[in-house]
């Protein structure tokens, strides 16, 4: 799996147009809300807003931008549910920060790296979500490694073509 270290000089930093910055997260939230009605497994195994957070964070390679992207997408996702607002916000803030920090240090442009990074961040996201939900809000949750890994793999496999598709919207700074 070719994950290569890159120096800061080699790192490409991308930006996105305003319609893409707003439209793609909104589309992801819309699909996350709508598709489970037709495909019930989608809700249990796919987290599209998370994938979008990871993508934007890794492409921008700016931890501050990454954490704010994660926070905004996460808070918007919280608004659609009935649980207190902030659980997804905190989890995705951490993921956004982590993904952009990792993007600075690693070459995350190839499919293998994206697969592993997404799998890893899905588990990080689940762990933070579980901790916050269980510890702060006292939600009853069950932690299942098998479900976590399966869902992580599903997200990682979906992330590879999705990220290549989203690469089309990148603009060089």
């Amino acid at each position: 799996m070719p994950i290569t270290y890159t120096s800061n000089e080699q790192v490409e930093v991308y930006r996105f147009s305003i319609p893409v910055t707003i439209g793609i997260p909104l589309l992801a939230l819309f699909l996350q809300s709508f598709l489970p009605l037709r495909f019930p497994l989608f809700r249990d195994y796919v987290d599209l807003p998370l994938l979008i957070t990871i993508f934007f964070a890794m492409a921008r390679r700016n931890p501050i931008a990454g954490l704010f992207t994660g926070a905004i997408i996460g808070l918007a996702q919280d608004m659609l549910g009935h649980n207190p607002i902030g659980i997804y916000g905190i989890s995705k803030t951490v993921v956004g920060y982590g993904a952009s920090s990792l993007g600075v240090k690693l070459d995350v442009e190839n499919a293998g790296a994206r697969l592993l990074v997404t799998l890893g961040f899905y588990l990080v996201h689940s762990a933070v979500h579980y901790t916050v939900g269980h510890g702060l809000v006292n939600m009853t949750q069950t932690w299942s490694w098998s479900h976590g890994i399966l869902a992580g793999l599903a997200n990682a496999i979906l992330a590879v073509p999705l990220f290549f598709l989203l690469d089309k919207f990148k603009q060089r700074t």
């Binding site: 709508f34 249990d44 501050i64 649980n83 207190p84 916000g89 905190i90």
Partner: protein
């Protein structure tokens, strides 16, 4: 100090953003007293819901439109055969309905004796499911009806198969429904045959379990679970599901896994129970129409009733026994409220769950079929289906009887004082 902040600027901002969110969470939990109280964050949720649901509504509308065009105009293969089959089914169900009406009347008489107050669904609003929370930790769906359609918080949401959940948050044109398999939901439930009561709860992984049933009780697999009405949200007697697995739970209670009757993962249309009413049960008298009578009415070879009826209402009987009229009445859909005596309905309006009356003592002719009622709106159907006894009616024993009908004989003559329907002589 400044250099430290500059050096760890990213980390400091991360900690700051996380701290703010934790603070926000803590405030919501503390202020609400209940972690799931969405009212405190109403404005921010309105923004989120307002940004997403219009697209969902549009997509569902487009999807339904194209599906309707296809199914209603192009793909009509087998419709004729299906129609015939459904007509047969209606005939069967009418006979069954008569039997059930007898049982219901008997139950109502007993309820009257006990001064029992019955609850029934008087008005429902049909709604389309347009979206979901998208999270497995928040099992909620959005419906396309809100405050404008009269929806209020804590109203019950059902489908024809069984209960779905309750309205959690109401916006102007959209509502959020908490499904029964969400971990924060709770429904009063009872087992149909054993009459054991318990509390139905959702679990973190989306299952539905019945709690608070003592472990020394026998709970057979497959037994139907109904609402008990104890939660003050769902009227009593609506189907919830069936027992799938029975195991030992905490303390002295059983852990009973329930398979919901409604398909909670693929909801499309639902009914919101907008109005439930409670009233004193009224016993009826003279409800003696047998399934055989109905059957007799439908036989094509039913002879004309002799006009030499001994009772005073011979003319009326003759009119009712007219085979042509009976034949017309037997045809599903051929009767209209004008051609059959309209049952006295309570003054309630229902846009979905209105029900028609089965044959009563007034006439053996089946009452007109109205809009299809959901299977689970049994309480409502039952209540509305049977008219109150008319004050002018006399008990059957007081009335001079005509020849007792047999399945192959003439149909039942109406009671002597039953008013002949104005247009019964010319049913169209």
């Amino acid at each position: 100090m400044e250099s430290v902040l500059g050096r760890y600027r990213n980390l400091v901002i991360l900690v700051g953003v996380l701290f703010l969110q934790v603070l926000g969470l803590a405030m919501q939990v503390k202020r609400g007293g209940n972690a799931n109280d969405a009212e405190n964050t109403r404005l921010i949720r309105i923004w989120g819901v307002g940004a997403i649901t219009p697209f969902e509504r549009l997509l569902v509308w487009a999807q339904n439109g194209s599906s309707d065009i296809w199914h209603n105009y192009f793909y009509l293969r087998g419709v004729r055969a299906e129609n015939r089959q459904l007509k047969d089914q209606i005939e069967q169900m009418r006979l069954e309905q008569v039997r059930l009406a007898e049982d219901a009347a008997q139950a109502r008489r007993l309820q009257t004796l006990l001064a029992f107050k019955e609850q029934f669904i008087s008005r429902t609003v049909a709604a389309q499911v347009i979206g979901s929370s998208g999270s497995d930790l928040s099992r909620t769906v959005y419906i396309d009806k809100g405050e404008n359609a009269g929806i209020k918080r804590d109203m019950a949401v059902i489908t024809a198969d069984g209960i779905v959940g309750k309205v959690l948050v109401v916006y102007s044109s959209v509502s959020q429904v908490l499904l029964i398999n969400d971990q924060s939901s709770g429904v009063g439930a009872l087992l149909e045959k054993t009459r054991l009561q318990g509390v139905l709860r959702g679990t973190a992984n989306g299952e539905v379990v019945l709690e608070r049933v003592m472990s020394d009780e026998q709970v057979p697999l497959g037994e139907t679970v109904l609402t008990s009405g104890g939660d003050q949200i769902f009227p009593k007697g609506l189907p919830i599901g069936s027992v799938m697995k029975v195991g030992n739970g905490k303390d002295l209670f059983l852990n009973i896994k329930i398979k919901p009757a409604a398909n909670l993962s693929k909801l499309e249309e639902v009914l919101v129970l907008v109005e439930n009413k409670e009233r004193q049960a009224v016993a009826e008298e003279n409800v003696h129409v047998r399934a055989a009578d109905i059957l007799a009415q439908r036989l094509p070879s039913v002879p004309d009733k002799p006009a030499t009826s001994t009772n005073a209402a011979a003319g009326t009987a003759g009119t009712t026994a007219n085979p042509a009229a009976a034949k017309t009445a037997a045809k599903p859909g051929s009767t209209t409220p004008a051609t059959a005596p309209a049952p006295k309905k309570p003054s309630t309006s229902s846009n979905v769950s209105s029900a028609s009356a089965p044959g009563t003592g007034q006439t053996a002719k089946p009452a007109p079929q109205s809009s299809p009622a959901p299977k689970n709106a049994g309480a409502a159907d039952d209540t509305e289906a049977t008219p109150k006894p008319d004050a002018s009616e006399k008990p059957a024993s007081d009335q001079p009887k005509t020849a007792e009908p047999t399945p192959a004989a003439a149909p039942t003559a109406p009671p002597a004082d039953a008013k002949p329907p104005a247009d019964q002589s010319s049913p169209q």
